[in-house]
């Protein structure tokens, strides 16, 4: 059960983020919602990287007796690498979205999605 808590947190975060994107009227809140979904997915990846009894794949700081006795105990750092990449991409997307919001505010004078509706049909 205790190991499932991160997964439950992932689901909750993704649902909160989707709720914000679907039902919030403010553009900045939509951006926040996407950011929350992204954090949830990153948490999911990090949680997958956990192996019981594994050692973090930092060669210099691993306990030497563990490395000597059980050489296979160091985990493969793929999920961590994925998460780092995903965080960097997320920052780029966030910056782009916020700059778009800024320009939209300049053009329309509002951040309310109900009023930003020049594109119809």
């Amino acid at each position: 059960m205790i190991y499932n808590i991160p997964f439950i947190a992932v689901v909750i975060m993704v649902i909160i983020g989707l709720f914000a994107v679907l039902f919030k009227r403010n553009l900045v809140k939509i951006v926040i919602g996407i950011s929350i979904i992204e954090s949830g997915v990153n948490l999911f990846l990090i949680t997958l990287g956990y192996r019981e009894g594994g050692v973090a794949p930092i060669f210099t700081s691993a306990p030497s007796e563990i490395v000597k006795d059980t050489p296979g105990s160091m985990v493969l750092p793929v999920p961590q690498a994925l998460t780092l990449t995903s965080i960097v991409i997320g920052v780029a997307v966030l910056a782009l979205m916020l700059s778009l919001v800024m320009h939209i505010y300049r053009q329309y004078g509002t951040l309310d999605v109900r009023k930003i509706r020049r594109l119809k049909e």
């Binding site: 999911f44 997958l48 493969l76 999920p79 991409i89 979205m97 778009l100 939209i104 930003i116 594109l119």
Partner: protein
């Protein structure tokens, strides 16, 4: 090993690497001169095109190619699973890469004149090259996470390009819609990739395809991946971003964006036919469930109908073509969906071929129409159908090209749209006769839409405000001429094209075991570590 072999060996990496490097060199080069920069971009894309020809020839003669970054062999010593990033290129990838580079070359050539009145051109070309590099990466990669990274790059660069006319509120709105939808889609794709990694400890497509069990988690991953990728390809009910962003982006960009959309479409096809290949061949036929294929076919039919219906009521030239583009995506998914539903049968193969053939025809036809809208916009500064009229007097070549485009997009012989649509009609008929009836009806409606536009924009009385307009510059005409030449060539000799490019691509999708066995010996158990 001579230099040609060496180039051919490293071509998968260079095809992505050269546009990526050129993208970041472009701002530097443009400090010298605008003309030199334009030439630089075109030359870099030509080099990429040359490498693509080398790679395509190699794949045609020697079969599937793998390119492992940082190593010669897919498996590192002492590991039972491929951990390195890997490109895997079969005929399907070659087909997609060819479409992408045609769109990229013509789009850049067209931009020379089209963008010459705008400022910020160095940034424009930088992002265009970045977009092209990301599309090429998406269609070459054999690694799920790598696919996600290129997808995100294409999201970011397309969004920046859709909002290129930043002074227009509409393009900002379309760009925001696009980035919200595509970043959520990409995040869910990442979630699905995480599910794959949790189960199979690998990110390699071939290895996942070998190990796939169709467990409950795999079902969730399939639904998420197909929903997200078809959303990015513009299938109903998530088509509205496509109409908005195609309608609001600069036409030269829309032309290249078609490539980005089709890369997502390629991703969906790759997931269905290769990654879940075992599922659709061995597991699902026994349980006689038809849900996934049925949903895809149904959505494709609704997409065709809604795309055409919405195109009928549009008054903006660009937006009208954007809805026609939605309908064309439906035709592709119709062919692919029927091909998936009746995999292994004769007509299933024809349907799949028709769907794949329609990918390139959609790119050329819809692309040509967008280029024509761009030409009209360049000449008149106007895209509203109601305000345009009598343009055929001054824009002779553009009008001629538009006639070719409208006949091709509505599937009239002797143009290319006819060849692929006929393949779709004659094969889907055997699955259910209602499918081709709807498809043909929509095709006729499409002709009606474009005849209406043709009359109101190019024919009709001479409007005084358009008396002085001149024919568009030569580079735009040349770019449109290339596409028209390709349309006529494919329309007149579809057999050459189908037997040399489409047939190998369809075979590569149908024989997914050869894709798997190139990386890993099938049926070996992939355990934990």
């Amino acid at each position: 090993m001579n230099w040609l072999e060496l180039l051919s060996l490293h071509s998968p990496a260079l095809i992505v690497g050269i546009p990526l490097l050129a993208a970041f060199l472009t701002p530097l080069v443009s400090r010298i001169n605008d003309k030199i920069r334009n030439l630089f971009v075109l030359v870099m894309l030509c080099v990429t095109g040359f490498l693509i020809i080398l790679l395509g020839y190699d794949v045609q003669t020697n079969g599937i190619r793998t390119y492992v970054f940082g190593s010669g062999a897919p498996l590192p010593s002492g590991m039972s699973i491929p951990v390195r990033i890997m490109f895997e290129i079969d005929s399907m990838n070659v087909f997609m890469v060819i479409i992408t580079i045609i769109l990229a070359l013509v789009g850049v050539l067209y931009s020379w004149s089209f963008m010459n009145r705008q400022d910020g051109q160095d940034k424009y070309y930088t992002i265009v090259l970045l977009l092209i590099a990301s599309i090429l990466g998406m269609v070459l990669t054999g690694d799920m996470f790598n696919f996600f990274v290129f997808l995100e790059i294409s999201c970011i660069s397309s969004c920046a390009l859709i909002a290129f006319w930043v002074h227009k509120g509409e393009s900002l709105e379309a760009a925001f819609k696009y980035i919200v939808i595509s970043s959520i889609g990409a995040l869910f794709i990442l979630f699905a990739i995480g599910i794959f990694y949790a189960q199979y400890n690998t990110l390699n497509m071939a290895t996942i395809a070998n190990a796939i069990q169709y467990s409950f988690l795999d079902k969730i991953a399939l639904v998420i991946l197909i929903a997200a990728l078809t959303m990015k390809a513009g299938l109903i009910p998530m088509h509205m971003w496509l109409a908005d962003s195609y309608g609001e982006a600069p036409p030269s960009i829309t032309f290249i964006l078609i490539g980005a959309t089709q890369a997502s479409l390629y991703g969906a096809i790759r997931i269905l036919f290769t990654v879940y290949g075992n599922v659709f061949r061995d597991i699902l036929p026994n349980s006689s469930s038809f849900i996934i294929e049925g949903v895809i076919i149904l959505l494709a039919l609704i997409t065709i109908l809604i795309g055409v219906m919405m195109a009928l009521i549009q008054t903006d030239f660009k937006r009208l073509i954007a809805y026609a583009a939605v309908a064309e995506v439906g035709y592709i998914f119709l062919g692919v969906g029927v091909g998936l539903a009746s995999i292994g049968t004769q007509y299933g193969g024809v349907a799949l071929k028709g769907g794949l053939f329609h990918i390139i025809n959609d790119a050329l036809d819809i692309g040509l129409l967008f280029l024509i809208v761009g030409a009209v916009l360049y000449a008149t500064k106007e895209t509203s159908v109601n305000k345009l009229g009598g343009l055929a007097r001054n824009l002779k070549y553009t009008t001629l090209f538009f006639i070719v485009g409208l006949l091709a997009v509505s599937g009239m012989p002797p143009f290319n749209g006819f060849a692929s649509k006929l393949m779709i009609y004659e094969s889907t008929y055997q699955l259910n006769p209602i499918i081709p009836i709807v498809a043909i009806l929509a095709s006729i409606l499409m002709l009606a839409v474009f005849i209406k536009v043709f009359y109101s924009v190019f024919l009709g009385p001479d409007l005084p405000k358009f008396k002085e307009i001149k024919e568009v510059p030569r580079s735009m005409l040349f770019a449109m001429g290339i596409i028209v030449g390709l349309i006529v060539f494919i329309g007149l000799f579809p057999d050459i094209f189908v037997s040399n490019i489409i047939q190998p691509a369809a075979n590569a999708l149908i024989n997914h075991s050869s894709y798997i066995s190139k990386v890993i010996t099938p049926t070996t158990f992939i355990g934990g570590f």
